[in-house]
């Protein structure tokens, strides 16, 4: 049924408004911090940029997973789902180490308005990535039990729409937080 994909489409649209508001909050306070940590003096755009590539690549691999299903190549479906999960997890690992690095310098959500907006925005995005990883893992387990006969599956397609969305949000978030600060 097309219903499921329509639901996820509108859901993702609704979620984008949620992220637009978080981004607006970040933009609103950009440049108002005169004292203490800011994006420029505490973030490493290169390191986060490299971890971002993993997330970007995972969007490609989830697409490959869907294509494998449409050609009824069940083995490659499992492989690409697995690769997608690994890439997503690597991105989360990058985010977590970045956060703990900042905590070590006493940069937290309550330190100043940069900390507040930065941790809220990246935190909500990271939460969405984790939810996506959970759904991808469920897909992988179902695929291992042979649940997806192909060539089409609403489950795979809906999770894939969501995953592309999470990826797209990150491109905007990375541009606003890292690129805007340094270029």
């Amino acid at each position: 049924m097309a219903n499921n994909k329509m639901l996820v489409g509108f859901f993702v649209a609704s979620e984008s408004i949620f992220f637009v508001m978080l981004i607006l909050a970040y933009v609103n306070f950009h440049g108002t911090v005169t004292d203490g940590p800011t994006a420029v003096n505490s973030l490493d755009p290169l390191r986060t940029g490299i971890f971002s590539l993993f997330l970007l690549a995972s969007s490609f691999t989830v697409w490959l997973a869907g294509r494998s299903l449409s050609t009824k190549n069940h083995f490659m479906l499992k492989i690409w789902l697995f690769v997608t999960i690994i890439l997503g997890a690597l991105f989360i690992y990058g985010q977590a180490t970045e956060w703990f690095g900042l905590f070590a310098q006493n940069i937290t959500i309550s330190r100043n308005v940069f900390g507040t907006t930065f941790f809220t925005l990246t935190g909500f995005h990271g939460f969405h990535v984790c939810v996506g990883l959970l759904m991808l893992s469920i897909l992988l387990v179902l695929a291992m039990f042979g649940d997806f006969k192909g060539p089409k599956s609403d489950g795979v397609e809906c999770v894939s729409i969501y995953w592309h969305f999470v990826d797209g949000v990150w491109i905007v978030v990375y541009s606003v937080i890292y690129l805007w600060a340094f270029f």
């Binding site: 097309a2 219903n3 329509m6 639901l7 859901f11 508001m21 909050a25 911090v33 309550s110 900390g115």
Partner: protein, 556 residues
């Protein structure tokens, strides 16, 4: 391990099974849109009585100058909980619940597109309501910061009690519920219509629910993010809305009203839908200017997104911003006025039958026009500066939400009660309810316009004995007591009619939309057979094959 000792003792009676149609479990576990719809309506009635009692406490406290019926803290808690309850737990879930009940029937579908999501939406509202009212059990009681919870008052250190935290959590839960219902409605209306039910033949109530659902899906996330930020401020010491730490209190106002103004249309568009169903049926004429009613709704929905700062004229946003928001707000009067003209033109020359639903619908038009007139007045910056945060504003939005939404809700209850229960409501008690409501409502709120112009600020615990203030407030309080009487009559009417009401035929009002084609109450599967839809009034076409609304339409 011994397998013989059961961990739970055996029940004497077998547990009820999900397949049974009777009993509480068939309701609690239900995913049927009609049962969920009715559960929405019953729970909003309960919240309505709670919110009404809170209003009554407010009005008793204000009945005379320098009165101390309750403490100032409790007074603040009462107006906060009254506003929050009436908006988020009465009008919104009532209209959503009525939509859940009616939309599948009106478009000839078996159920919503996602029945389990539908059940989730309902139970999230209940969960949110429990979270909100749980704050009464905390040490210093519920939130005291008003329904729009302005920062930094709602932040630490000004509100150290847990009230605003429960408030935000409860509203976050209902917000998620609203987005889920919005999504469910959109997919249902777009994909599950019966054959021949094109968008141009959709009942206007369904049109209004569709536009409202788009608003829910795109506007609720605005406030959900603001609630998340407020909670982070309160729980993790983030600094979004605390100016002392570099945050911005005005940002909260922008975010809140960015949601708050469209919310007004979420509360009133489905009410327009009810009126657009009731007025034609009781005037025995098709709606005048169907496309204008549907089109102007879309226009209102879009315009409502760009006018939020008319709630913020007192902030001092600058002349350019004030001018824009003032003019844009006045613009909304045009599509709204178009609707009023459509309803009046539908009644014009019709054979009007003033049964209780039509009485409420007619009164709705008058009360809502008053709200519109005072609305255009406060959209003008200089007038707003004079009356902002005064009882004039209180009067204005009660005319919109009580005179508007709630009058339409009453019209809808009297109109669809026979369909939902299989019994008619008492017309005698209905007329008593109607007249007590009209008298009580106007007595309570009309005089508040004058109190506001005379300078009485809203949200003040008490007032000095200025000339006429005491007597005018007393009139308002007596009005509120009459309103309380009207609610008792209404509740009695529901109870009595449920048990002893006259048995309702399938189509007691001789109406034209599909829900009246099935039995009263509808069978579990809604329709044995959906009749062919060849126009906007399928049941008219069915009864008058030689006088079709669209003479050249083919049976699909």
């Amino acid at each position: 391990m011994s397998m013989k000792i059961p961990l739970v003792p055996e029940n004497l009676k077998p547990l009820p099974r999900l397949k049974e149609n009777e009993g509480m479990l068939s309701w609690v576990a239900s995913v049927d849109h009609k049962q969920i719809g009715i559960m929405y309506l019953i729970s909003t009635l309960v919240f309505f009585i709670i919110g009404g009692l809170e209003a009554l406490v407010i009005r008793i406290q204000l009945a005379q100058p320098e009165f101390d019926f309750i403490s100032p803290e409790v007074y603040n808690q009462m107006f906060t909980m009254h506003g929050t309850t009436m908006i988020f737990f009465v009008v919104m879930p009532f209209l959503i619940g009525l939509g859940v009940y009616l939309v599948p029937l009106m478009i000839g579908a078996r159920d919503m597109a996602f029945p389990r999501l539908n059940a989730l939406s309902f139970w999230l509202v209940i969960f949110g309501g429990i979270l909100l009212y749980y704050s009464f059990l905390t040490q210093s009681g519920p939130s005291e910061v008003g329904w729009f919870a302005y920062a930094p008052l709602s932040e630490k250190p000004f509100s150290l009690n847990k009230g605003p935290t429960y408030w935000a959590l409860g509203l976050l839960a209902t917000g998620i519920s609203s987005v889920a219902s919005g999504l469910n409605n959109i997919v249902t209306i777009l994909t599950m219509r019966a054959k021949g039910m094109t968008m141009r033949r959709l009942p206007l109530f369904v049109w209004m629910i569709l536009v409202t659902s788009f608003l829910l899906v795109f506007v609720i996330p605005i406030i959900a993010s603001a609630f998340a930020m407020m909670l982070l401020d309160r729980l993790l010491e983030a600094t979004f809305f605390t100016p002392a730490h570099g945050g911005s209190a005005i940002l909260w106002q922008h975010f809140f009203w960015g949601f708050g103004h469209p919310e007004v249309y979420i509360l009133v568009l489905p009410a327009f839908g009810i009126i657009s169903e009731v007025i034609p049926v009781f005037s025995r004429k098709p709606i005048f200017g169907y496309s204008f009613v549907a089109g102007s709704t879309v226009a209102i929905g879009l315009l409502s997104l760009g006018v939020w700062a008319h709630h913020m004229f007192a902030v001092g946003l600058g002349n350019v911003a004030n001018l824009y928001f003032s003019l844009a707000s006045m613009l909304i009067a045009i599509p709204t006025g178009v609707k009023v003209l459509n309803w009046v033109a539908t009644m014009w020359g019709g054979k009007i039958w003033f049964a209780t639903p039509m009485l409420f619908a007619t009164a709705f038009i008058i009360e809502f026009v008053i709200a519109g007139l005072t609305g255009v007045a406060v959209a003008s910056v200089p007038i707003d500066w004079v009356v902002t945060d005064s009882y004039f504003v209180v009067a204005h939005f009660h005319y919109a939400l009580f005179g508007g939404s709630l009058f339409a809700i009453f019209a809808g209850i009297y109109y669809w009660f026979p369909k939902m229960t299989g019994r008619m409501m008492s017309e005698t008690l209905g007329k008593w309810h109607f007249w007590l409501t009209v008298i009580g409502f106007n007595m309570t709120f009309f005089i508040q316009h004058f109190l506001g112009v005379m300078g009485m600020p809203r949200r003040t615990y008490t007032y000095h004995d200025f000339p006429y203030w005491g007597s005018m407030n007393l009139i308002s309080t007596i009005g509120a007591i009459i309103l309380a009487l009207s609610v008792i009559v209404f509740a009695w009417n529901i109870r009595r009619s449920l048990k002893h009401g006259e048995k309702a035929p399938d189509n007691p009002w001789n109406a034209w939309t599909l829900e009246w084609y099935t039995t009263s109450p509808p069978a579990v599967h809604n329709f044995d057979l959906v009749p062919p839809v060849r126009g906007r009034r399928p049941l008219w076409d069915l009864a008058h094959p030689d006088q079709l609304d669209e003479p050249n339409s083919k049976v699909v």
